[in-house]
């Protein structure tokens, strides 16, 4: 009798501990996803314009899944301590639904990260940066977002183009339509700036004299935060799901042993 009592208590203790961890991880997931959705690097307009912003959708799902995990973990702890069959059944079913949503979020984040190639940003930059005549309101909104984001990126990270300033020379662009090649081989923001925000040496910048223009591409500055975002949602969610899987199996085992 004593042995099976211990057995029960150990299982209860393990499940309570498992649910505590799920609750904490749920809060952490919510916090992490809120951080990503707040877009601290200002890259959302670029993703919105590619019409490929599903990693943000994944982060939004993560926020709600995190809350759900926290609430359900409390429900689970109560159900285990009281050995209430109904509560545990509700817990298991709701947890399964949450599991499914989190699965969707992880797979979405991981899959859509792969779509964000340098060529995607290059094509978008060439077609939208400083586009003079947008087709409609939506186009205008996206064009403004892309232009502002690129200006900010090039100034803050001292970079130019996606792979380098030669992007502007190798391809025609919306920028080239309004800015002639002789005066603007690349945008002014690619020039090394002084404290007043004016180019240090404009002729040196136009000629490409080392030191007077930004020779690096901005792709690293874009892909770094985007990767952190996507992998943060995907892998952390995956880890939570693995743990939740074990706790759920244990809870189902416990539930099936409770008799009326």
């Amino acid at each position: 009798m004593a042995k099976s009592e211990d057995c029960i208590h150990i299982l209860q203790g393990l499940l309570v501990f498992g649910n505590v961890v799920i609750g904490i991880c749920g809060i952490a997931l919510t916090a992490e996803c809120i951080y990503f959705v707040s877009d601290p690097h200002g890259l959302y307009p670029l993703l919105e314009a590619t019409e490929n912003d599903d990693i943000y959708a994944a982060a939004w799902i993560g926020i709600f899944v995190g809350f759900a995990l926290f609430a359900l973990s409390i429900l689970g702890i109560i159900g285990i301590i009281k050995s209430d069959r109904t509560l545990l059944l509700v817990y298991i079913i709701l947890m399964l639904i949450t599991f499914a949503f989190e699965m969707a979020s992880c797979i979405t984040a991981a899959t859509h990260r792969d779509f964000l190639t340098p060529n995607l940003f290059l094509k978008q930059m060439l077609e939208r940066y400083q586009k003079a005549e947008p087709d409609n309101n939506n186009d205008k909104w996206m064009t403004e977002g892309v232009t502002k984001t690129w200006d900010k990126l090039m100034l803050q990270n001292h970079c130019c183009g996606v792979l380098g300033p030669s992007d502007w020379q190798e391809y025609t662009s919306a920028f080239r339509v309004t800015h002639n090649d002789a005066d603007f081989p690349w945008p002014r923001k690619c020039c090394a700036m002084d404290a007043q925000g004016l180019p240090v040496n404009l002729d040196g910048c136009k000629l490409g004299v080392p030191g007077y223009y930004n020779s690096n591409g901005c792709y690293d500055a874009i892909s770094g935060p985007v990767n952190t975002h996507a992998w943060g949602v995907a892998w952390f969610g995956f880890a939570i799901l693995c743990w939740t899987f074990c706790v759920l199996l244990g809870t189902m085992f416990y539930w099936s042993g409770i008799e009326y």
Binding site: I92, L120, Y171, D181, A182, G208, L249, S256, E259
Partner: protein
């Protein structure tokens, strides 16, 4: 006299060999300065011009006999050559600290105004072009360098040629998707199995005490309240008016 042929200098104009990203663009190109080249032939009043011609028209170019006959920038489509960058010969004299390059095509203001001055406007087509320097005095050309190699300007592609589709699927996606799918399937199967087993056993009222889990039979749960005391054999009230009846104890099942 005007019929004196200009001296042929061995200098060959060239695009600067150093690493300058903008030395050749779609409408401009850069040239090394011809420093110290004209020192033997130049007076203080002489000027050095740059002759720009399409590569296939350079053989037919004739030096202009005087400054008035210099072909201008706007005549490039018809005469297939023009002269620009009129500079005092002293600027290229030795020794002279100077910026290293000349930029051909850098003046976008002059092409629209149609001025008669020598205009260093952007080149209208990718070329190829050949250039040479010409030293002009009061009586005509005094010296010239050799023609450069053909200079081809950049041709830009359309961005519609860029293919944004990723080349290969990352391995992370495969790992996450396959592991999660299998976990989800196992869970769903486990829940359905447990529910199914419960439904099955409650339909057939089977005794579950013989299961393998040693803990199961003894798990705490809602302990039903204590059974009521069995009725003591004796009087049970019958409908009023009939009196007491002695009951027999219930027979064992």
């Amino acid at each position: 006299s005007p019929s004196t042929l200009p001296a042929r200098l061995p200098y060959v104009p060239r695009v600067p060999p150093m690493a300058l990203l903008g030395k050749v663009t779609a409408t401009t190109f850069a040239l090394d300065r011809p420093c110290c080249v004209f020192d033997r032939h130049a007076n203080t009043s002489d000027t050095v011009w740059l002759v720009v011609a399409f590569a296939n028209a350079s053989a037919t170019f004739r030096n202009p006999p005087s400054r008035a006959d210099v072909p201008l920038y706007k005549q490039l489509p018809t005469t297939h050559s023009y002269m620009t960058l009129e500079t005092a010969a002293a600027v290229y004299a030795c020794p002279a600290p100077s910026p290293a390059v000349l930029r051909v095509g850098g003046d976008t203001a002059c092409k629209d105004q149609g001025r008669q001055d020598p205009c260093n406007g952007p080149l209208p087509s990718p070329g190829p072009y050949r250039v040479k320097f010409l030293l002009m005095g009061c009586h005509g050309p005094k010296a010239e360098t050799r023609w450069s190699d053909p200079i081809l300007l950049r041709r830009a592609l359309s961005p519609s040629t860029i293919d944004p589709v990723p080349t290969r699927r990352g391995s992370d996606v495969v790992v996450i998707a396959s592991l999660l799918a299998s976990l989800g399937t196992v869970l769903a199967t486990a829940v359905l199995g447990a529910l199914g087993a419960k439904v099955w056993s409650s339909l057939y009222q089977r005794d579950l005490g013989t299961s393998a889990f040693a803990c199961r039979s003894y798990w705490t749960h809602h302990i039903p309240p204590a059974l009521p005391q069995p009725l003591s054999p004796g009087c049970q009230c019958s409908p009023p008016g009939l009196g007491c009846l002695a009951l027999q104890p219930p027979a064992p099942c």
